[in-house]
């Protein structure tokens, strides 16, 4: 009985937080263009104003509306994390599936590459890539995609190896079905329950990475807003204007937490029960 209660609470929390994250996303997408303040227009007369009915989240040191900037930051965060995960997912598929399916030398070679990428701290690798190729949104996206690809390759490889001994896959091999077809039509649909949580966790981690890079000035470039950059700028005004830190940080936490719970929900809904 106790386990069932725990499971129910977990499901409620998962649903609650993912709803929160979804609402946040919806609000960002629908309101950016409708909101009265432009996120980049400065106003010398309205510097560091505390939250009020005029400026919901207050204003920053250049008189820009923090609410508008948060919305824009969310937009870029979404853009970077979705594109990055897409690149990582595609690369992971291309590497992990054949590694698991063919095994042997193919596997050893592919996993050698992916493990070498993995053994560097991810953020460092992304920073190096961006430092070399110059900070731009495009570079951030592909660098993050590259850094995250091995994680997906691993999920794929383990899944494919696990399924390879299943009799329906053996049967497909006996029928001499094209390996590409086996991988995409026979194996892939069976991996979805493992891949979906990995994708959502990937989105959450990517968001944190992007914020970290922007915080160091190598992510989204000014004048565009980004959570990391906003937090970095707000540091100097922390005592005078705490709202500059509190609101972006809070939104970031809710969004990432929501994604983590969403992945939990995805896992539970496919009947995964490992803990």
């Amino acid at each position: 009985m106790r386990t069932s209660l725990q499971k129910k609470t977990r499901i409620y929390m998962a649903v609650g937080f993912s709803l929160l994250a979804v609402i946040l996303v919806a609000f960002v997408i629908s309101l950016t263009h409708l909101y009265v303040y432009d996120p980049n227009s400065t106003n010398a007369a309205a510097k560091l104003l505390p939250p009020s009915s005029d400026h919901l989240f207050g204003t920053d040191n250049l008189g820009r509306d923090v609410f508008a900037r948060c919305m824009e930051a969310s937009k870029y965060t979404l853009l970077v994390s979705f594109c990055g995960v897409f690149i990582a997912f595609v690369l992971g598929t291309l590497l992990g599936m054949p590694a698991g399916y063919f095994g042997g030398i193919t596997d050893k070679f592919i996993m050698l590459i992916s493990n070498s990428v993995m053994c560097f701290p991810g953020i460092l690798l992304a920073l190096v890539a961006v430092a070399v190729f110059g900070p731009s949104l495009f570079n951030v996206v592909w660098a993050l995609g590259l850094v995250f690809a091995p994680t997906f390759a691993r999920v794929y490889r383990t899944g494919v190896i696990g399924l390879s001994s299943k009799e329906y896959i053996l049967h497909a091999k006996v029928l001499k079905v094209n390996p590409m077809r086996i991988m995409l039509l026979h194996i892939f649909p069976n991996l979805v329950p493992q891949l979906l949580p990995a994708v959502v966790i990937g989105l959450a981690n990517m968001t944190l990475f992007e914020s970290g890079m922007s915080y160091l000035g190598l992510g989204v470039q000014p004048p565009h807003a980004s959570y990391g950059k906003m937090l970095a700028d707000a540091q100097s005004y922390m005592t005078m204007a705490p709202w500059l830190i509190v609101f972006p940080a809070l939104l970031l936490v809710i969004y990432v937490l929501g994604l983590y719970f969403l992945s939990e929900a995805a896992r539970l809904s496919f009947g995964g029960e490992r803990r």
Binding site: M1, S4, L175, P189
Partner: protein, 519 residues
């Protein structure tokens, strides 16, 4: 004295908003102290659920709607969760069907067993000595070595012994054995049954033995109950059940278990041994790759195997587990590359039917997709109508209907899945079907119907069948010729009757001995 009394027990499973399904329907029985009670029935008859209810291991969706279970005078259903957990282990021990998954693969056998005692606060030295002596009791000659081994280092039969040791460690009064021998070969089955019987007498245990196989209850159980659709429909002592059944269903189960060709209406195709064979296997050897980069080759798993298979012939391949039967099958159908020798398919196609009806179909695709896939793979170009016609033909040939085509494997029973797998083979019109233990995980009625289906295919299409099995009875009814394998070699071959009547190799003798003890 009765150790357990089950009165008016009913249990339902609730799923979604639908009407709850009645799984157990007004069960009334008792288990006498010191006896071995057999519980027999087809899959889905509720025998495992009866055991789970007694042990208190029901899934959350299940609810006991009425009745009482008294064990040693206590009503189990009225106990709290904690008390029940204590009861399980100390009063009730359980052994499950699959010895592969019941042990933690990351811990040694000793550690696995140690946990049972550790949670009961028994000092370390005593735990070890008790485990070692129990391992000795279940028949290990070197208990110390087994104690240190990991589960993957010991065989299936040994693992089942370890599980029995684990269940007996706390000296429970009642041992529930849920299909403990279904995944073992005949020789091992006989030894495990003997062990259970010895333990039962030595430790004054009572055993509730669950099986779908009527043949194992002989010489083993004192009494047998037969279950059907959640009801106990027959109950008698073993002698009377086996030789003088009063219930029509029991009688039917018995005839099906005997696999008598005449009562099942089996008829096989004529064989012309002078014609050209459809499959020629010449001196093949196969090894599994091993070591870093897969360069080193392990010792050959099978070696020097030669035989011809003629059109319409059904040939048996027997041997105990681990003798290389499946490796040979995989080599013939091209899943493994032989390290030596030659396989000639003689321009015909080879189809395979595997053992496990659960994993033989892809859970994410419909049956129609499954039947279409071989056509796509073979590159046969057909119009949509022709394709549909072929698929319909194949599905009807195996006794399924059009409505099954749009279903997913999860919604079919074990027998239906095995039929669908056979349909997948048939659609390419193979000249040879390799059937790797197609019956071993099916109950007697389903196995008999699949056997009938295979004989029909053989008769009507003149398809040759290479039947791999450890069940001699099936081989005796189906096969004209038989190969006996042991340790990767063919040790005996010839006409089935001759080989089984006057066996020469010791492996054949062991198989026949084991079968004799079962029936």
């Amino acid at each position: 004295m009765n150790i357990a009394e089950i009165r008016n027990l009913s249990m339902s499973i609730y799923s979604g908003k639908g009407v709850p399904a009645l799984i157990l329907d007004d069960l009334n029985f008792h288990i006498r102290e010191g006896e071995i009670l057999g519980l027999i029935g087809n899959s889905g008859s509720g025998k495992s659920m009866t055991a789970m209810t007694i042990a208190g291991l029901l899934p959350e969706s299940a609810q006991v709607t009425s009745g009482s279970i008294e064990i040693d005078g206590k009503d189990v259903l009225k106990l709290s969760a904690g008390e029940r957990r204590k009861l399980l282990g100390e009063e009730i021990g359980m052994i499950f069907q699959d010895p592969m998954t019941a042990l933690d693969p990351l811990e040694t056998v000793g550690k696995n067993l140690d946990e049972i005692l550790r949670i009961r606060n028994i000092p370390k030295e005593e735990r070890k000595s008790r485990i070692i002596s129990m391992l000795e009791t279940v028949g290990f000659i070197e208990p110390e070595r087994i104690y240190r081994s990991y589960p993957h280092q010991i065989s299936g039969g040994q693992r089942q012994r370890v599980l029995i040791a684990g269940a007996a460690l706390l000296k429970p009064k009642l041992l529930i054995a849920d299909e403990p021998t279904s995944s073992l070969d005949t020789v091992t089955t006989v030894s495990i049954l003997k062990l259970l019987k010895d333990i039962c007498i030595e430790m004054h245990m009572t055993i509730l033995f669950i099986s779908h196989d009527l043949s194992v209850v002989n010489n083993f159980c004192d009494r047998v109950m037969v279950m059907k659709d959640g009801k106990i429909i027959d109950s008698d002592n073993t002698e009377d059940i086996l030789h003088n059944p009063k219930n029509a269903f029991t009688a039917e189960l018995l005839t099906k278990a005997k696999l008598d060709p005449r009562s099942l209406g089996l008829e096989f195709s004529e064989v012309d041994p002078s014609g050209s064979p459809v499959l020629k296997v010449m001196d093949i050897a196969t090894a599994y790759r091993d070591g870093f980069f897969g360069r080193q080759r392990a010792k050959n798993t099978i070696e020097g195997i030669c035989f011809d298979l003629y059109p319409g012939e059904v040939m048996g391949l027997i041997g105990s587990s681990g003798c290389g039967k499946t490796t040979l099958a995989k080599t013939i159908c091209g899943l493994l590359k032989p390290t030596g020798g030659n396989i000639d398919h003689c321009s015909g196609k080879v189809g395979v039917v595997f053992q496990d009806p659960v994993s033989c179909l892809n859970p994410m695709h419909t049956i129609r997709w499954h039947l279409n896939e071989p056509l796509v793979a073979a590159g046969i170009k057909l119009t949509k109508e022709e394709r549909e016609k072929k698929i319909l033909e194949a599905i009807k040939a195996v006794g399924l209907e059009e409505k099954h085509l749009s279903r997913y494997p999860g919604r079919l029973s074990g027998g239906q899945r095995q039929r669908a797998a056979i349909a997948m083979c048939l659609i390419l019109e193979p000249s040879v079907i390799i059937a790797d233990e197609p019956f071993s995980s099916l109950d007697a009625s389903t196995a008999a119907s699949i056997l009938k289906l295979l004989s029909k295919i053989n008769r009507e299409r003149k398809t040759s069948i290479l039947l791999i099995s450890h069940n001699l009875r099936v081989v005796r009814t189906m096969c004209r010729r038989v190969l006996v394998m042991s340790r990767g070699h063919v040790v005996e071959e010839g006409m089935t009757e001759e080989v089984l009547k006057s066996p020469k190799a010791s492996a054949t003798k062991a198989l026949i001995d084991a079968e004799r003890q079962l029936s």
